[in-house]
């Protein structure tokens, strides 16, 4: 090979070798291209918190929060009757893994029964797996609607000097590393069967000619093997019998091996149930929102929502946050996942009163997140207003504001 070609080949091989060692950072997840109505009217997210943003491989952090399948769930989605859901985490692939999931206080491995208006207080224990900085979100998937993302956070997973493994305990007490459990056995088995297939092909294609057989096969009936002409010989038949016997023996040996090595097996499990109601779902409802309208001024990036809020409780209630899709707006100083809003005339509503609140945000995020697109099929802003009554009780009041678009 010429030196120039050798160098080129070397460069290509080196580039190829680098392929598996790269771990780039990831950005937001493309949720902006989901329809605004899908994101805002389907599932609401309240108080999503990440316990930390730096972990080593194998170490865990938690994502907690409350997700509500909104009463405003659109009739065109999942036929208007969401019934099956799945809460998990979203990341650029399994760079983090889910180790534990509780919904409304109970362990929930798989899918759950959901319903419109259902409230699900979730806790996900997530372990770092692949070193890098990743954008991680909780997610709520609803059958027939797809996967909806909650607020995301950058999580840095650092390489663990002790190495990485993913231990789980079998029913027989043995601890295994799920990352590579039985991988050599799997590959060896697949390779052995592959080699048998290659051997069969070599048998027929190397000592025998191929294309020139057409001159003969085109002159003999289909359902003959051409033995009288030497196309297939008695020896071929015997050798293929040995192949078949050998393959059958391999399967018998393999079967006996798995029966002895893994004597206790069961079919894959599907666990589906309706999680218990959280306390907040059966708490007395004191807050109600109605008659909401909203406008957005592109020039000043100002979003304004006017909403009538009624307090039918016995004590004053305070507006703590307004959440919509993965955005969380708070009056006062925002936390790491929050954004700021102004509330007029006041965040407090007296008992028995109905007050018109004006919520204002000066934030380009509405445009950046493509939530107020004139080209969208539905022009509404749907979200949750979170109220506290001062005595520890909380209410989630859904608000659906008619958007008045400004076309200029």
């Amino acid at each position: 090979m010429r030196r120039r070609h050798r160098r080129l080949l070397g460069a290509v091989l080196l580039a190829g070798a680098l392929v598996v060692s790269i771990s780039p950072a990831a950005q937001a997840h493309g949720e902006k291209s989901q329809e605004a109505f899908l994101r805002m009217t389907s599932v609401g997210w309240v108080d999503v918190k990440f316990s930390q943003d730096h972990v080593k491989q194998g170490e865990t952090f938690t994502i907690t929060g409350t997700a509500k399948v909104l009463d405003a769930w659109p009739t065109g989605l999942a036929k208007g009757a969401p019934n099956t859901g799945f809460i998990s985490a979203i990341a650029p692939g399994p760079v983090v893994i889910v180790k534990e999931r509780t919904i409304n206080g109970v362990s929930a491995p798989d899918r759950i029964d959901v319903h419109k208006g259902g409230i699900y207080e979730f806790s996900l224990t997530v372990a770092g797996r692949r070193a890098g900085t990743w954008h991680v979100h909780p997610s709520f998937s609803v059958k027939g609607a797809g996967t909806l993302l909650g607020p995301g956070m950058w999580i840095t997973v650092e390489k663990n000097p002790a190495g990485y493994s993913n231990p789980i305990t079998l029913d027989n007490g043995k601890t295994i590393n799920l990352e590579n459990y039985q991988l050599p056995f799997t590959w060896i088995w697949l390779l052995i069967t592959f080699v048998i297939g290659v051997a069969w092909m070599i048998y027929w294609t190397v000592p025998k000619r191929t294309v020139t057989n057409l001159a003969v096969t085109s002159q003999i009936p289909l359902n003959t093997d051409g033995m009288e002409y030497g196309l297939i010989t008695k020896r071929d038949h015997r050798n293929m019998n040995w192949f078949a016997i050998g393959t059958a023996l391999l399967l018998v040996v393999g079967w006996l091996y798995q029966a002895a090595a893994f004597p206790t097996k069961m079919p894959q499990q599907v666990i589906q149930f309706a999680p218990p109601q959280p306390a907040i779902a059966s708490a007395p409802q004191f807050a109600k929102a109605s008659n909401a309208t909203a406008t957005y001024d592109r020039g000043s990036k100002t979003f304004t929502m006017n909403v009538d809020v009624t307090n039918s409780g016995k004590t004053a209630m305070t507006l703590k946050e307004f959440t919509t899709t993965n955005l969380n707006f708070v009056p006062g100083t925002p936390g790491p996942l929050d954004r700021q809003m102004q509330v007029a005339p006041t965040t407090t509503v007296d008992p028995g009163a109905t007050t018109k609140l004006t919520l204002t945000t000066h934030d380009s995020v509405w445009q950046d997140e493509h939530l107020l697109t004139i080209g969208g099929a539905q022009l509404e802003v749907t979200g949750i207003l979170v109220f506290d009554d001062g005595g520890g009780a909380r209410n989630l009041a859904e608000v659906q504001a008619i958007m008045q678009p400004q076309f200029k």
Binding site: G93, P94, T186, L190, W200, T210, D225
Partner: protein
């Protein structure tokens, strides 16, 4: 019995040396064709039965033994017809199996492993090779596609299941996880997140009114075998109608 002139002529033709047709034609044919054969088998498998093949927690006992043999026997059957007709080689199913394994192995390792970082013991592909050996062996013995479609397809689907249950077995062991007992495969499915494919999409056995005293597995195998027979004839249509029939035929008015 004296050998007739035609037989002698054909015997000579088998070994005839040609001016321009040397072994390179064979090499080019076998090596270039395996790309399209493997790819055809792979895309058929991926879009008819792919999800069951991608993940261990989908390789269940109710659906997997039905959809996968059906999907993978199709192209193999077409190749059986072509390679028997053209060369009298009982190699169509095995050739397809070898090509399919190469395509799938590259796909899993380069894409599912190196690109999106799933552990290989979660996304390993099922093998078709052992099943293919028996299907080709039946064709060699019977020289008949009708008999191969019945005997061969049944042997194919049962052998396919056995040869893939063996590597699946360790992942069906019960494990303690989240206050429950689930299989190792279930744990893989839940831990190694695939964000856009939520768990409820799994089309696997999830309890039924009648489990026939635990015979679900065997009922699926028998049904899978009959569905494989149908798949075999779809493959025959592809081989006969789309690969062989067009030879030397032209559309006169187009």
């Amino acid at each position: 019995m004296a050998t007739d002139a035609k037989t002698l002529e054909l015997r000579e033709l088998v070994n005839k040396q040609y001016r321009y047709i040397d072994r390179k034609w064979d090499a080019v044919f076998w090596i270039t064709a395996i790309f399209v054969v493997g790819a055809a088998a792979d895309i058929t498998k991926q879009l008819f039965a792919g999800d069951w093949d991608f993940w261990t927690d989908w390789k269940d006992r109710q659906w997997w033994p039905i959809v996968t043999p059906f999907a993978i026997i199709i192209i193999g059957s077409a190749l059986q017809y072509i390679q028997w007709l053209a060369w009298r080689f009982p190699t169509g199913m095995t050739y397809t199996a070898v090509g399919l394994f190469l395509c799938t192995f590259v796909g899993r390792w380069v894409q599912w492993g190196a690109f999106v970082y799933y552990p290989m013991n979660y996304v390993w592909p099922a093998t078709m090779v052992a099943a293919a050996i028996f299907a080709d062996w039946v064709l060699l013995k019977t020289k008949s596609f009708i008999l191969t479609s019945v005997i061969g397809a049944i042997l194919f689907s049962v052998t396919w299941w056995i040869s893939n249950y063996i590597p699946l077995a360790p992942y069906l062991q019960p494990a303690h996880w989240m206050d429950r007992i689930v299989t190792v495969a279930d744990v893989q499915g839940i831990e190694y997140i695939h964000s856009q494919t939520p768990e409820y999409l799994r089309i696997v056995e999830h309890g039924s009114l009648r489990t026939f005293l635990g015979e679900t597995q065997y009922v699926s195998l028998v049904f899978g075998a009959t569905v494989a027979i149908a798949g075999y004839w779809i493959g025959q249509f592809i081989g006969r109608g789309l690969a062989i029939w067009p030879i030397g035929r032209f559309i006169k008015r187009w």
